[in-house]
Symmetry: C2
Subunit: 130 residues, 2 copies
DNA sequence: CCGGATCCCGTATGATACTG
DNA sequence: CAGTATCATACGGGATCCGG
């Protein structure tokens, strides 16, 4: 399906409503921490504590939840080394790595249109406030 | 910035935490109706009622909210024809159209990895339940 | 036809304290 | 270090009624 899809404007992209798996990806991309975590894991494996330092602002709880969801979907692998103190290493799987390209598209588009969106938003706000 | 970005795994994609505009796009892509609405607007302008029929399951309230947010960000234009009964036409702006390509990437990736994710999820669920 | 106003609920997120 | 448990809160989203 992927290679045959070139013209977005003439193709009913989402003919399936909720059940074609797009929703799941949207949820990941849309939540607050997943993108950051994946980005930090992209260069290589990281330990829990390292991730928490790298992903600024994330709480222990949310980092755990985010990693669990990614692990559940097979995007992140979790390796426990039975040392003292315990040591757990998280790494992107092959599928997880392929997601970084998608995230790259997202980030690129966001940066490319950031200014235009910001300006439109300001304009709209002043127009509706006044 | 976009063309210079080819290797995701060696590039700190999101060095800015919350304030680089990526969050806004994530919110749009992540919410329940925006993607559907944009997809339905991709082929051409639509009236409110048409959209509500096309986007199955959306309530009047959520369709309005979704369109307002898109309009605020300059992704959708709203044209009112002062007829009786009133007639309002929604259309993608140029920026909005460029977003359909991003959505295309999202949908393609989701479909390509749908099976793998679903299997990983099943496996994880049975493993954690047992 | 278009959409604003109101009420209500489930879930995502955050803060904090506690364990192996 | 790497979590888990609990409580509190905010926000998205659904249902419904009303107005231009």
């Amino acid at each position: 399906m992927s290679e045959g899809h070139t013209d977005v404007t003439t193709d009913p992209l989402v003919s399936c409503a909720e059940d074609c798996g797009v929703r799941d990806v949207q949820d990941r991309l849309g939540d607050k921490w997943t993108v950051h975590v994946v980005v930090e894991l992209a260069p290589g494996p990281r330990r829990f504590r390292e991730l928490q330092r790298l992903v600024t602002g994330v709480s222990q709880r949310m980092l755990t939840l985010t990693l669990r969801r990614l692990e559940r979907d097979g995007l992140v692998s979790r390796t426990v080394y039975p040392t003292t103190p315990p040591q757990v290493e998280y790494a992107l799987t092959e599928t997880g790595h392929s997601m970084t390209h998608l995230i790259g598209q997202l980030v690129d588009w966001s940066l490319d249109h950031r200014a235009v969106i910001a300006r439109a938003r300001e304009e709209w706000d002043t127009r509706t406030t006044a």
